[in-house]
Symmetry: C3
Subunit: 352 residues, 3 copies
């Protein structure tokens, strides 16, 4: 069970209610009560657990969980006495169950006395503001927002309803929709990297006069950075989620629901469609257009536009299939021994 | 026009004054007034805009801007009635115009009552210190500095005149010149990654006894980190600019005006000449010497010294031209069709 | 000598005591006094210096240092009159000497009046808490901890004895052992990147219900991020050290003494053995097992399990030897003579 020091629960739940939020099928007594969620390895008979990766199927067989969310195809692996909660998408079903036991925090309408709120800031109903948080002049903080300790909301910033700004996050020059989450240390609206260089080598700052527009439900991970537009805006579309330590350059636009994984970076003025996935440590050069549902592999380096629906990988990035073919070729060469490679080279030189 | 909630302007400007700061040529009425700057797409007849990338030439034709900064070679693309401000380097010219409308912030000589300033800190004339900022013992903060909310200036740190330390930035064990800018969350002077490992596997910290020396005009991007010297100093030369999420190891030296782009890293004790460009996500191993004006491509991994004036790319890094030749070769192999590749492979299998 | 503004010393030391902590051999007057440590280039006759990299042997010959720690094999390079402190592992010996002059800071039992400490937090003996630091409800802060300005210790967090939490670091949902160090801006315990996506493309947060467990002596570098477990815990084994800007995903486990260099990342649920080295900008995909003493080269991308004791590099990662063989092959192709390559290219242009 989650450590109660950190994770208070909403209390016991009936199996029938659990199955309902999960849209899962089950057989058995719907009135049975469960106290929480837990991993397969540590779950007890009062816990709900889940399996969404075949890799862990052995843990299922040995689990003492009272109920397990899983794909119907895995149902036969359930231990005796364990209730199966069958769902086509077990991770989604389990997320909804976990949220039933551990709902998102709700703002307590309290402003800590050490917070520094500008007199002309507009604080919505029920807003919670933690110790030593700062709200700048004319900022508008929507109803039900939680501003944690040491967060800084800059002058004029607008936060929609129900945003959560975690410790040490800062946001400036930005308009955020509802339900936006900034994780600890996130930096939204900082001055981008814009300058012109004189013939003598002096870098002259280009004033960065745009904003950051965060759609509803956008999340920015811990210590990630989203620069404001240089002119025009930097825009993260609704539901886009940045993992930790991500860099978003000025004037970047993402569509809906993009997924940008840790250490990935998008250079200035590139435009992403909807549901683009940029895996860890990958990068996109500036001024490119990436179509919807493009998936970019880890450590890829994208230097050209990518049409919608394409999967690319490598640095420079190219289609996944060709990338792996080139890797396979190189491995054969390398394992083939020096002699083989050199023979081949000599031949290559002679060949047409 | 830039959002006035975030970007107050210095007021209307005459065309003749605008052209003067930009060192741009124009034809027409020098007394004409302009109210601000804006991108081509949204500029109106009272705005100055600019074009510095041919990619956006179509936007020029359709722009309603009153004046546009651009290269003389593009002048014929100007829409009717739009004043051309002709400059050999349009981005530089436009930067100066934008600074005319939106000059760098000037410190207001105010210390917020919640700031915590050590009694023996030396605060220069006209310094502005924001809410909850901290200045340590014996720190010296030069005239006209702006220390934003939640910034921390450590014991003994020296800041030259006109520095700006943004929210949540911290600086310790450092001597900074004039006009240094630390963006939000920048970490200057933290203990580097130095330790010796015993035969039993215990890591014993090597005390990091050097400083960070920041030349005039150095900028450190959001959430970037500059470790102090292990012994001797870490030095960033005048005008060097780090983008966001950059890592600078202990004892690194950069020359003047180096440009280190997001997610790039320089390992301990490497020395860079002047005007080196390290593109995004690239890395330089430790104890290397990189000559002046070297340009290192995105995601490159530099493992050897690089002579001045060279362009390198790849991981491990090598000269740009040879890198692309090897990529072209691999692509030919991979695209050459499975049949071709397999034929070649079969041949390889038969070879010694 | 280290700048006394930043590095107070513990006072002069006798050569015999210096040699004793270093377990080094020397010849000469054990009563001779030394005032500090310094690099070879700047050391004077009262300083102890060291050489641990042959690259800098010339600096040894010209050094004015009174004593130098070095490997016996280098002893003949000592300048006349300079005492040799001979040690099999000079960097370790020197670390111990530097710690003699500059011991780790000791907590002063002072809580700054601006710190915000929850009434039910449990503060151990001799704890030092800086300006504007925050300790949450029910947090337990062990004896002798130093919580610097602007650090935030979350509700319920447990810190063992002698931890140091630097400015702007935050820790939540975590249990830390003794002597743990969080460098400035480190983020421990933030919500990981966990969500399930509906058919309509909506990302539903998976509540992250695990903790972070930090073993004794763990260090987390500046602006690095360690996500809490999604369920189950994220665990860093005793003595594991993260450099700056490192990302550790949810449920990752590391063994003892792992070394994770700047910009490296480990994706969710991967498990590392003891003493694994992950070099700069390298990444490990999720759900992998990396054996003890594996060394992973800079910028490597690990996509498969790696058996203990193996060295890998490349993206995707493979054994070091084969990687270099493939690189050598590609270089030969690319350099293979401009003439040869161009001939090949021309031919390719004519081909179907």
């Amino acid at each position: 069970m989650p450590d109660p020091r950190f994770f208070p629960t909403a209390g016991v739940q009936r199996l029938v209610d659990i199955a309902a939020v999960a849209e899962a099928r089950f057989e058995g007594d719907g009135e049975r009560l469960f106290t929480g969620v837990a991993p397969l390895q540590t779950a007890g008979p009062d816990d709900v657990s889940f399996l969404d990766n075949r890799r862990y199927a052995d843990a299922l067989s040995e689990s003492k969980a009272g109920a397990v969310v899983l794909h119907p195809a895995m149902a036969e692996r359930l231990p005796v006495g364990c209730v199966g909660l069958l769902a086509a998408q077990p991770n989604l079903a389990f997320a909804r169950i976990a949220l039933l036991f551990h709902p998102d925090p709700v703002a307590r309408a309290v402003v800590h006395p050490t917070a520094v709120i500008a007199p002309d800031a507009v604080i919505g109903q029920g807003v919670e503001i933690g110790a030593l948080a700062v709200s700048g002049a004319r900022a508008e903080i929507g109803a039900g927002c939680i501003i944690h300790s040491h967060a800084v909301v800059g002058d004029g910033v607008v936060l929609g309803a129900g945003c959560r700004i975690h410790p040490h996050a800062s946001i400036s020059h930005a308009i955020a929709g509802a339900g936006v989450v900034l994780h600890p240390g996130a930096r939204v609206g900082a001055e981008g990297y814009g300058f012109a260089t004189t013939a003598a080598g002096e870098h002259v700052t280009m004033p960065q006069l745009g904003r950051v527009i965060l759609g509803d439900g956008v999340q920015v991970g811990a210590n990630s950075t989203v620069d404001r537009g240089s002119h025009g805006d930097t825009v993260l579309g609704p539901g886009t989620r940045l993992d930790n330590l991500v860099q978003i350059g000025h004037n970047v636009h993402t569509g809906r629901g993009c997924v940008i994984v840790a250490h990935a970076g998008i250079s200035g003025s590139s435009v992403l469609g909807d549901y683009v996935v940029l895996a860890a440590q990958a990068g996109i050069a500036g001024h490119l257009t990436i179509g919807s549902k493009v998936r970019i592999g880890a450590q890829a380096g994208v230097m050209n536009d990518v049409p919608a629906g394409t999967d690319v990988i490598g640095s420079p990035a190219w289609p996944v299939r060709e990338f792996w073919r080139s890797i396979a070729y190189l491995r054969k060469i390398a394992q083939g021994g020096r002699a083989g490679a050199e023979a081949r080279d000599r031949k290559a030189d002679r060949e047409p």
